[in-house]
């Protein structure tokens, strides 16, 4: 964690700012949330990396989707994701958001989460340990550095497709589409 790289700071402060102050929204989506408390408290202390849990989507820029996503929770996840300000990053925990995991054949869970909201990174493991979460955070740093963590841009450009998928899965959504023309307004 080479912190005193002042030159990098002056070259692109926004990237460095994003990297070293990832504020994760404290939203319990699935069974993986039991991993978050040890991560943010004394045992593993995510605050060393600048990651702190915040209460509302408005203040956050990192969305940890922990564990399986049931159909009802998907509605809240989409709502929260759309309320987060850009640049926002999402990380999927465990195998269930990837392809449904052990609920692969259940009628009530969402199989491939990235059909509905874009995901920057995945952490394998049916509930990854805190060390895996820190590896994910540092991996997210490299992605931000290389400019590849552009899931929110993809969401903005292909919003029409995402919206159609969401409506197919959840039926009528009771909030208006976020971007009207399919293309986003920065």
């Amino acid at each position: 964690m080479d912190r005193n790289d002042i030159k990098k700071w002056f070259k692109s402060p926004d990237k460095m700012g994003d990297k070293y102050s990832l504020w994760a929204i404290y939203f319990c989506t699935g069974c993986g949330i039991i991993e978050i408390p040890p991560v943010i408290t004394a045992r593993w202390d995510a605050e060393r990396f600048g990651v702190i849990p915040v209460a509302t989507p408005r203040q956050s820029n990192l969305f940890l989707i922990t564990g399986y996503v049931s159909v009802k929770t998907l509605r809240a996840i989409i709502r929260t994701y759309e309320q987060m300000p850009e640049p926002k990053y999402t990380v999927g925990f465990g195998s269930c958001p990837i392809n449904g995991g052990m609920y692969w054949d259940s009628y009530n869970t969402i199989k491939h989460l990235d059909k509905y909201i874009p995901i920057d990174g995945w952490i394998a493991g049916c509930m990854p340990r805190p060390e895996a979460i820190f590896v994910a955070v540092t991996h997210l740093w490299t992605l931000i550095d290389q400019g590849k963590a552009k899931a929110y841009v993809k969401y903005r450009e292909k919003y029409g497709l995402y919206r159609k998928n969401q409506e197919m899965a959840l039926g009528k959504l009771d909030w208006p589409p976020l971007y009207t023309t399919g293309g986003g307004n920065d």
């Binding site: 939203f27 408005r58 509605r75 809240a76 709502r79 929260t80 309320q83 009771d174 909030w175 920065d186």
Partner: protein, 614 residues
Amino acid sequence: MNLAQLILISLCGAFLTYLLGKASSRIRDTFAVFISLLLIIPLFCLYGKNEEITYYSFLGLPLILKITPLSWLFAIAVQTITSLSVIFSLSYMKGKERLDFYYLMLLLVNTGMLGIVLSADLISFYIFWEIMSWSTFLLISYNRGPALHAGMKYIVMSIIGSASMIIGILSLYVNCGSLDFVQIASFIPRTSSGYTLFILILFCITFGIKNAIAPFHTWLPDAHSEAPSPFSAVLSGVLIKMGTYGFILFMYTIAGLNIIINIGGGSFHYLISILAAITIIFPTFIAVLQDDAKRLLAWSSIAQVGYIILGIAIGTGLGFVGGVFHFFNHAAFKALLFLSVGAVEYRTGTRDLNSLGGLIKKMPITFFCALIGVFGLIGMPLTNGFVSKWLIYKALILGEHPFLAFIALFGTWGTIIYSYKLIHNIFLGQLPEKFSNVRKAPVTMRIPVIFLSLVVVVFGILPGIPLKIIDTISASFGFQPQDIQIWGIASETGVLNMVNIFAAIFAALIFVWLLFLMGRKKINIAQDDSYAAGAYVPKDKYNYTVDFYKPLSGMIKPYLRDFVDDFYLWLADVIRTFSDKTRKIYCGDLGYYISYIVLFLAVLIVLKMGLKIW
């Protein structure tokens, strides 16, 4: 244009509007506005001149009208507030019936107040006082129903006040021979201090009732919430201040400064300031518990009047200037708040603080002016309320009254609590469905509101203008003049430079605004795109306005039952039951009457014989 013609014009102007009303309402409205605006100009150019005219003599006593700097200030305030409320009621009272009667009464109240302020002897003072009281009673009980009860309560208390005034006038006439203020002022030092105390107490009861000081305040909340909004703006803006005028009149013009200071060993004016301090505290916290906007404002008027009397009653030059200036400011921002609540009530039909909300999107100008009114009420630095409160506090602290200063300062935080509740429950929060098609307030309602908010801000930034006038008043009463500049007060114990503070705040605002623009471009979002923990915001059920300060009201409600009001109601019951019993004496049977006569004669004989029967 002498003073008698002035009063005459406003009097027959009132009756003329009533007659014109029979012809057509449009002419009546324009004439009422014209007459009230017309009267401001002669009043304005009377500044500085001290005319005097005896317009009539009654039983050998001359009835005199005189203009002094103090009465000039009060007259200007009275006339502007009444003309603004007349403009306001053009559209506010459009649908209602008996409008000729309403305009007649409004202009009569205006005449009464002008008469009180300009009169220089007790007879004309008393006549105009009665005109004002009775026309107020008729206006308070204008829209039937509970308003009648409120009007009854008001008139009963003001009759008690007038009665004590009559006793005072008679005893003065008997002892002093003449009722002219100048003669009485020269007579007072000659008499015993006990007699002056008696006279002062009598008149202070009258002015205390009209001014709603601590024990006599119970009529005000009912009267305000039942009276039509334009009139309650006049009522709490200037009508209550007639009591203040009376206080100043009797404490300073008639009794004179040095008598007041050491009457009863200096305890008299200290007692009044303690009473005023009490009037600051408990109405403020009762106002926090109110759910009706106008009742909340009524309780806040009682508290603010406490500040004025506190300023006047301390007896130092700074306090007096602060008190009179606070009268002027309170007239401005309290009328502003009542008019804006009236505009909201006109558009939405309700003033219940629990069901309103989100009106800032529909009535932005009313919101902005009400916000300035609230800032004036609290005393935020860029408004006139701050300057007058600063003067009062400085007088209190340097005058060695730390506990009074604490009560006054603590009252400010109570003011913040209830005035934020007023602004939040009416204008902020989610806009309910049923108010989604509320339109802007009509133009005739916005003019007075905008004018008053300009007054609040301009006199806040440049307090020198009104302070110089008030300084001439305080100098005329024997206080040493303050060193007043256009930007504030410059005295060795503490300088208040409002332009300096304005510049600092303005520069800071600009700097922070630039900082704000430096960030990324903001995105405007609708009212229902708010955080609801992942759920969509439910329509009409996403507002926190009912019982806004629940934890606080839970703690202070038991202590704030209005004991004084219950005492009065209990007293009324006792009198009613007592009079019921005495009613039974007149049972209409002749035999009883004869026996009463015989019995009475027997008692007289016994008394006459000095109980030496045998």
